[in-house]
Amino acid sequence: MRAAAGSPAGPQVLEADGIQVAFAGRQVLANIYLRVQTGQIVGLLGRNGSGKSVLLQTIFGARTVADASVRVNGRRVVPAFRQAGLLNYLPQEPLLPPSLPLRQAARMLGVELTEATARFPELRPQFDCRAGELSGGTARLLQTLLLLHADTAFSLFDEPFSGVMPVHVETLAEEMQRIKQRKGLLITDHRHAEVLPLCDVVYLLHQGRLLKLEGDVKEALRDYGYLAQ
Protein backbone atom coordinates (compact mmCIF):
# COMPACT_ATOMS: atom_id res chain seq x y z
CA MET A 1 0.00 0.00 0.00
CA ARG A 2 1.33 3.37 -0.98
CA ALA A 3 1.59 5.83 1.87
CA ALA A 4 2.00 9.37 0.65
CA ALA A 5 4.49 11.54 2.45
CA GLY A 6 3.31 14.41 4.54
CA SER A 7 -0.22 13.14 5.01
CA PRO A 8 -1.94 13.65 8.31
CA ALA A 9 -2.36 10.85 10.81
CA GLY A 10 -5.72 9.43 11.87
CA PRO A 11 -8.83 8.72 9.83
CA GLN A 12 -9.53 10.61 6.66
CA VAL A 13 -12.74 12.54 6.43
CA LEU A 14 -14.74 13.07 3.27
CA GLU A 15 -17.27 15.88 3.54
CA ALA A 16 -19.75 17.22 1.04
CA ASP A 17 -21.95 20.25 1.38
CA GLY A 18 -23.42 23.16 -0.52
CA ILE A 19 -25.05 20.76 -2.96
CA GLN A 20 -28.25 22.09 -4.43
CA VAL A 21 -29.87 20.39 -7.39
CA ALA A 22 -33.21 21.11 -9.03
CA PHE A 23 -34.86 19.32 -11.95
CA ALA A 24 -37.66 21.04 -13.86
CA GLY A 25 -38.19 23.49 -11.02
CA ARG A 26 -38.34 20.76 -8.36
CA GLN A 27 -35.67 21.03 -5.68
CA VAL A 28 -34.13 17.53 -5.46
CA LEU A 29 -31.24 18.31 -3.15
CA ALA A 30 -30.91 21.31 -0.86
CA ASN A 31 -28.43 22.24 1.85
CA ILE A 32 -26.80 18.84 1.96
CA TYR A 33 -24.10 18.04 4.47
CA LEU A 34 -22.67 14.52 4.40
CA ARG A 35 -19.65 13.12 6.16
CA VAL A 36 -17.85 9.80 5.70
CA GLN A 37 -14.62 8.79 7.34
CA THR A 38 -12.30 5.89 6.80
CA GLY A 39 -13.24 3.00 9.03
CA GLN A 40 -16.94 3.73 8.56
CA ILE A 41 -19.76 2.37 6.46
CA VAL A 42 -22.31 5.08 5.86
CA GLY A 43 -25.76 4.23 4.55
CA LEU A 44 -27.74 6.59 2.37
CA LEU A 45 -31.42 5.74 2.12
CA GLY A 46 -34.30 7.45 0.41
CA ARG A 47 -37.32 6.89 -1.77
CA ASN A 48 -37.01 6.38 -5.50
CA GLY A 49 -36.23 9.69 -7.17
CA SER A 50 -35.12 11.32 -3.93
CA GLY A 51 -31.70 12.16 -5.40
CA LYS A 52 -29.44 9.48 -3.90
CA SER A 53 -27.66 8.74 -7.17
CA VAL A 54 -27.39 12.42 -8.01
CA LEU A 55 -25.78 13.04 -4.63
CA LEU A 56 -23.25 10.21 -5.08
CA GLN A 57 -22.40 11.37 -8.60
CA THR A 58 -21.95 14.92 -7.38
CA ILE A 59 -19.58 13.81 -4.62
CA PHE A 60 -17.70 11.63 -7.12
CA GLY A 61 -17.37 14.65 -9.41
CA ALA A 62 -19.07 13.23 -12.49
CA ARG A 63 -21.92 15.71 -12.13
CA THR A 64 -21.05 19.37 -11.99
CA VAL A 65 -23.04 21.31 -9.42
CA ALA A 66 -22.32 24.97 -8.84
CA ASP A 67 -21.24 25.75 -5.27
CA ALA A 68 -20.85 22.06 -4.39
CA SER A 69 -18.00 21.57 -2.00
CA VAL A 70 -16.33 18.19 -1.57
CA ARG A 71 -13.43 18.08 0.85
CA VAL A 72 -11.03 15.53 2.23
CA ASN A 73 -9.53 16.49 5.57
CA GLY A 74 -10.70 20.02 4.85
CA ARG A 75 -9.01 20.24 1.44
CA ARG A 76 -11.30 20.90 -1.53
CA VAL A 77 -11.26 18.06 -4.08
CA VAL A 78 -13.54 18.88 -7.02
CA PRO A 79 -13.88 16.85 -9.17
CA ALA A 80 -12.95 14.18 -6.67
CA PHE A 81 -12.46 11.37 -9.19
CA ARG A 82 -9.47 13.19 -10.67
CA GLN A 83 -7.61 12.88 -7.38
CA ALA A 84 -5.51 9.72 -7.61
CA GLY A 85 -6.37 7.13 -5.00
CA LEU A 86 -9.12 9.14 -3.36
CA LEU A 87 -12.39 7.47 -4.27
CA ASN A 88 -14.24 5.30 -6.73
CA TYR A 89 -17.91 4.96 -7.61
CA LEU A 90 -20.15 2.08 -8.59
CA PRO A 91 -23.03 3.45 -10.69
CA GLN A 92 -26.44 1.81 -10.96
CA GLU A 93 -25.73 0.98 -14.58
CA PRO A 94 -22.98 -1.38 -15.74
CA LEU A 95 -19.54 -0.10 -14.81
CA LEU A 96 -17.34 -1.95 -17.28
CA PRO A 97 -17.28 -1.65 -21.08
CA PRO A 98 -18.94 -4.86 -22.38
CA SER A 99 -15.97 -5.82 -24.55
CA LEU A 100 -13.44 -5.49 -21.73
CA PRO A 101 -11.98 -8.78 -20.42
CA LEU A 102 -12.38 -9.07 -16.67
CA ARG A 103 -8.68 -9.64 -16.06
CA GLN A 104 -7.82 -6.47 -17.96
CA ALA A 105 -10.43 -4.47 -16.04
CA ALA A 106 -8.93 -5.66 -12.76
CA ARG A 107 -5.41 -4.84 -13.94
CA MET A 108 -6.42 -1.32 -14.98
CA LEU A 109 -8.10 -0.73 -11.62
CA GLY A 110 -4.99 -2.02 -9.87
CA VAL A 111 -6.80 -4.95 -8.30
CA GLU A 112 -5.57 -8.52 -7.87
CA LEU A 113 -8.60 -10.43 -9.16
CA THR A 114 -7.85 -13.68 -7.31
CA GLU A 115 -7.46 -11.82 -4.04
CA ALA A 116 -10.58 -9.71 -4.56
CA THR A 117 -12.72 -12.79 -5.22
CA ALA A 118 -11.05 -15.09 -2.68
CA ARG A 119 -14.33 -15.55 -0.80
CA PHE A 120 -16.26 -16.24 -3.99
CA PRO A 121 -14.48 -19.26 -5.52
CA GLU A 122 -17.38 -19.93 -7.89
CA LEU A 123 -16.45 -16.73 -9.73
CA ARG A 124 -13.09 -18.10 -10.85
CA PRO A 125 -14.35 -19.74 -14.05
CA GLN A 126 -15.58 -16.29 -15.14
CA PHE A 127 -12.15 -14.66 -14.97
CA ASP A 128 -11.52 -15.09 -18.69
CA CYS A 129 -14.91 -13.67 -19.70
CA ARG A 130 -15.58 -10.24 -21.06
CA ALA A 131 -17.74 -7.99 -18.88
CA GLY A 132 -20.64 -8.19 -21.33
CA GLU A 133 -20.70 -11.99 -21.14
CA LEU A 134 -21.48 -12.11 -17.41
CA SER A 135 -24.97 -12.50 -15.96
CA GLY A 136 -26.42 -9.38 -14.33
CA GLY A 137 -25.93 -10.54 -10.74
CA THR A 138 -22.41 -11.86 -11.34
CA ALA A 139 -21.42 -8.67 -13.13
CA ARG A 140 -22.75 -6.60 -10.25
CA LEU A 141 -20.89 -8.65 -7.67
CA LEU A 142 -17.63 -8.54 -9.59
CA GLN A 143 -17.85 -4.81 -10.22
CA THR A 144 -18.51 -4.18 -6.53
CA LEU A 145 -15.60 -6.41 -5.50
CA LEU A 146 -13.23 -4.70 -7.94
CA LEU A 147 -14.03 -1.25 -6.57
CA LEU A 148 -14.12 -2.47 -2.99
CA HIS A 149 -10.61 -3.90 -3.30
CA ALA A 150 -9.22 -1.00 -5.35
CA ASP A 151 -6.65 1.09 -3.55
CA THR A 152 -8.76 4.14 -2.75
CA ALA A 153 -9.59 5.83 0.53
CA PHE A 154 -13.33 5.87 -0.17
CA SER A 155 -15.82 3.88 -2.23
CA LEU A 156 -19.29 5.07 -3.18
CA PHE A 157 -21.67 2.24 -4.05
CA ASP A 158 -25.00 2.81 -5.74
CA GLU A 159 -27.09 -0.34 -5.20
CA PRO A 160 -24.21 -2.83 -4.85
CA PHE A 161 -26.56 -5.67 -3.81
CA SER A 162 -28.92 -5.23 -6.73
CA GLY A 163 -29.39 -8.57 -8.53
CA VAL A 164 -26.85 -10.36 -6.33
CA MET A 165 -28.08 -13.67 -4.92
CA PRO A 166 -28.66 -13.84 -1.12
CA VAL A 167 -25.72 -16.09 -0.24
CA HIS A 168 -23.38 -13.72 -2.05
CA VAL A 169 -25.02 -10.68 -0.45
CA GLU A 170 -24.10 -12.05 2.98
CA THR A 171 -20.50 -12.70 2.00
CA LEU A 172 -20.23 -9.35 0.25
CA ALA A 173 -21.51 -7.63 3.39
CA GLU A 174 -18.82 -9.41 5.40
CA GLU A 175 -16.22 -8.30 2.87
CA MET A 176 -17.38 -4.72 3.25
CA GLN A 177 -17.06 -4.99 7.02
CA ARG A 178 -13.53 -6.29 6.59
CA ILE A 179 -12.46 -3.70 4.03
CA LYS A 180 -13.86 -0.78 6.01
CA GLN A 181 -10.86 -1.12 8.31
CA ARG A 182 -8.91 0.73 5.63
CA LYS A 183 -11.64 2.56 3.72
CA GLY A 184 -14.73 4.66 4.09
CA LEU A 185 -17.78 3.24 2.32
CA LEU A 186 -20.88 5.16 1.31
CA ILE A 187 -23.66 2.81 0.28
CA THR A 188 -27.12 3.40 -1.07
CA ASP A 189 -29.37 0.39 -1.61
CA HIS A 190 -33.04 -0.36 -1.05
CA ARG A 191 -32.17 -3.69 0.59
CA HIS A 192 -32.36 -2.05 4.00
CA ALA A 193 -32.38 -5.40 5.85
CA GLU A 194 -28.86 -6.00 4.55
CA VAL A 195 -27.65 -2.41 4.58
CA LEU A 196 -28.73 -1.24 8.04
CA PRO A 197 -26.76 -3.82 10.09
CA LEU A 198 -23.66 -2.85 8.11
CA CYS A 199 -23.85 0.86 8.74
CA ASP A 200 -22.11 2.95 11.36
CA VAL A 201 -24.05 6.01 10.25
CA VAL A 202 -27.35 6.23 8.37
CA TYR A 203 -28.59 9.21 6.38
CA LEU A 204 -32.05 9.57 4.88
CA LEU A 205 -32.74 11.79 1.91
CA HIS A 206 -36.18 13.17 2.55
CA GLN A 207 -37.81 15.92 0.52
CA GLY A 208 -34.45 17.20 -0.68
CA ARG A 209 -32.85 17.31 2.75
CA LEU A 210 -30.30 14.94 4.16
CA LEU A 211 -31.20 13.78 7.65
CA LYS A 212 -28.74 11.97 9.87
CA LEU A 213 -30.69 9.29 11.71
CA GLU A 214 -29.81 8.56 15.27
CA GLY A 215 -31.30 6.31 17.93
CA ASP A 216 -33.83 3.81 16.60
CA VAL A 217 -33.09 4.06 12.88
CA LYS A 218 -35.88 1.70 11.80
CA GLU A 219 -38.42 3.66 13.78
CA ALA A 220 -37.22 6.88 12.18
CA LEU A 221 -37.42 5.29 8.73
CA ARG A 222 -41.02 4.30 9.47
CA ASP A 223 -41.82 7.81 10.67
CA TYR A 224 -40.51 9.31 7.44
CA GLY A 225 -42.47 6.80 5.35
CA TYR A 226 -39.45 4.93 3.98
CA LEU A 227 -40.46 1.70 5.72
CA ALA A 228 -44.00 0.43 6.20
CA GLN A 229 -45.51 0.92 9.65
Partner: protein, 124 residues
Protein backbone atom coordinates in the same frame (compact mmCIF):
# COMPACT_ATOMS: atom_id res chain seq x y z
CA UNK B 1 -3.57 -3.15 5.18
CA UNK B 2 -3.53 0.41 6.48
CA UNK B 3 -5.91 3.10 5.30
CA UNK B 4 -4.65 4.88 2.18
CA UNK B 5 -3.32 8.33 2.91
CA UNK B 6 -4.33 10.92 0.40
CA UNK B 7 -1.48 13.30 -0.26
CA UNK B 8 1.37 13.86 -2.69
CA UNK B 9 1.76 10.71 -4.82
CA UNK B 10 5.21 9.35 -5.61
CA UNK B 11 6.66 9.17 -9.15
CA UNK B 12 6.24 5.41 -9.63
CA UNK B 13 2.58 5.73 -8.67
CA UNK B 14 2.09 8.61 -11.11
CA UNK B 15 3.80 6.61 -13.88
CA UNK B 16 1.46 3.67 -13.24
CA UNK B 17 -1.51 6.01 -13.44
CA UNK B 18 -0.23 7.57 -16.67
CA UNK B 19 0.25 4.17 -18.32
CA UNK B 20 -3.20 3.04 -17.17
CA UNK B 21 -4.76 6.22 -18.52
CA UNK B 22 -3.03 5.80 -21.89
CA UNK B 23 -4.37 2.26 -22.06
CA UNK B 24 -7.80 3.57 -21.11
CA UNK B 25 -7.70 6.08 -23.98
CA UNK B 26 -6.81 3.20 -26.30
CA UNK B 27 -9.69 1.16 -24.94
CA UNK B 28 -12.11 4.06 -25.35
CA UNK B 29 -10.84 4.68 -28.88
CA UNK B 30 -11.73 1.10 -29.78
CA UNK B 31 -15.36 1.84 -28.90
CA UNK B 32 -15.53 4.79 -31.32
CA UNK B 33 -13.05 3.45 -33.89
CA UNK B 34 -15.70 2.16 -36.32
CA UNK B 35 -17.06 5.72 -36.67
CA UNK B 36 -13.73 7.50 -36.69
CA UNK B 37 -11.84 5.10 -38.93
CA UNK B 38 -14.85 4.92 -41.24
CA UNK B 39 -14.80 8.69 -41.66
CA UNK B 40 -11.02 8.62 -42.22
CA UNK B 41 -11.40 5.91 -44.84
CA UNK B 42 -14.15 7.85 -46.56
CA UNK B 43 -12.11 11.07 -46.70
CA UNK B 44 -9.02 9.27 -47.93
CA UNK B 45 -10.85 7.20 -50.55
CA UNK B 46 -13.13 9.89 -51.91
CA UNK B 47 -10.90 12.97 -51.73
CA UNK B 48 -7.21 12.16 -51.33
CA UNK B 49 -6.93 9.11 -53.57
CA UNK B 50 -8.53 10.73 -56.65
CA UNK B 51 -6.53 13.92 -56.02
CA UNK B 52 -3.25 12.02 -55.83
CA UNK B 53 -4.07 10.06 -58.99
CA UNK B 54 -4.85 13.27 -60.84
CA UNK B 55 -1.65 14.85 -59.48
CA UNK B 56 -3.06 17.75 -57.39
CA UNK B 57 -3.08 16.19 -53.91
CA UNK B 58 0.21 17.68 -52.61
CA UNK B 59 -1.24 20.66 -50.74
CA UNK B 60 -4.35 18.94 -49.48
CA UNK B 61 -3.12 17.76 -46.09
CA UNK B 62 -4.08 20.81 -43.92
CA UNK B 63 -7.56 20.92 -45.42
CA UNK B 64 -8.06 17.19 -44.97
CA UNK B 65 -6.89 17.33 -41.36
CA UNK B 66 -9.29 20.20 -40.67
CA UNK B 67 -12.13 18.28 -42.32
CA UNK B 68 -11.28 15.26 -40.23
CA UNK B 69 -11.18 17.36 -37.04
CA UNK B 70 -14.55 18.86 -37.93
CA UNK B 71 -16.14 15.40 -37.87
CA UNK B 72 -15.03 14.71 -34.26
CA UNK B 73 -17.93 16.65 -32.66
CA UNK B 74 -20.37 14.58 -34.74
CA UNK B 75 -18.85 11.34 -33.42
CA UNK B 76 -18.84 12.78 -29.89
CA UNK B 77 -22.52 13.71 -30.16
CA UNK B 78 -23.54 10.30 -31.53
CA UNK B 79 -21.50 8.56 -28.86
CA UNK B 80 -23.13 10.62 -26.09
CA UNK B 81 -26.58 9.83 -27.45
CA UNK B 82 -26.03 6.13 -28.05
CA UNK B 83 -23.97 5.27 -24.95
CA UNK B 84 -24.56 7.86 -22.23
CA UNK B 85 -23.26 5.55 -19.48
CA UNK B 86 -19.98 4.71 -21.15
CA UNK B 87 -17.76 6.93 -19.00
CA UNK B 88 -18.08 5.38 -15.56
CA UNK B 89 -15.16 3.00 -15.90
CA UNK B 90 -12.94 5.80 -17.20
CA UNK B 91 -14.00 8.18 -14.42
CA UNK B 92 -12.93 5.47 -11.99
CA UNK B 93 -9.51 5.55 -13.63
CA UNK B 94 -9.34 9.31 -13.04
CA UNK B 95 -10.07 10.31 -16.63
CA UNK B 96 -12.47 13.12 -17.38
CA UNK B 97 -14.56 13.32 -20.56
CA UNK B 98 -12.32 16.10 -21.84
CA UNK B 99 -9.12 14.10 -21.40
CA UNK B 100 -10.70 11.02 -22.90
CA UNK B 101 -11.89 12.80 -26.01
CA UNK B 102 -8.69 14.84 -26.27
CA UNK B 103 -6.73 11.58 -26.32
CA UNK B 104 -9.10 10.02 -28.84
CA UNK B 105 -8.88 13.00 -31.23
CA UNK B 106 -5.07 13.05 -30.97
CA UNK B 107 -4.81 9.30 -31.59
CA UNK B 108 -7.28 9.45 -34.46
CA UNK B 109 -5.44 12.42 -35.98
CA UNK B 110 -2.19 10.46 -35.90
CA UNK B 111 -3.79 7.43 -37.52
CA UNK B 112 -5.33 9.66 -40.16
CA UNK B 113 -1.97 11.27 -40.83
CA UNK B 114 -0.42 7.81 -41.12
CA UNK B 115 -3.11 6.88 -43.63
CA UNK B 116 -2.41 10.00 -45.70
CA UNK B 117 1.33 9.31 -45.75
CA UNK B 118 0.80 5.65 -46.60
CA UNK B 119 -1.55 6.55 -49.42
CA UNK B 120 0.86 9.14 -50.80
CA UNK B 121 3.71 6.62 -50.72
CA UNK B 122 1.49 3.98 -52.34
CA UNK B 123 0.39 6.22 -55.20
CA UNK B 124 3.90 7.59 -55.73
Amino acid sequence: MAARRVGKPNQAFLMTILITQLRAVGLFYRSVAPFMLGISGLILATVLLPALREGWGAGLLPGLLLAKLATAPVVWYLSEQLRPGQYWFYFNLGLSRRRLWGGVVALDGLLFLGGVLAMRAGVA
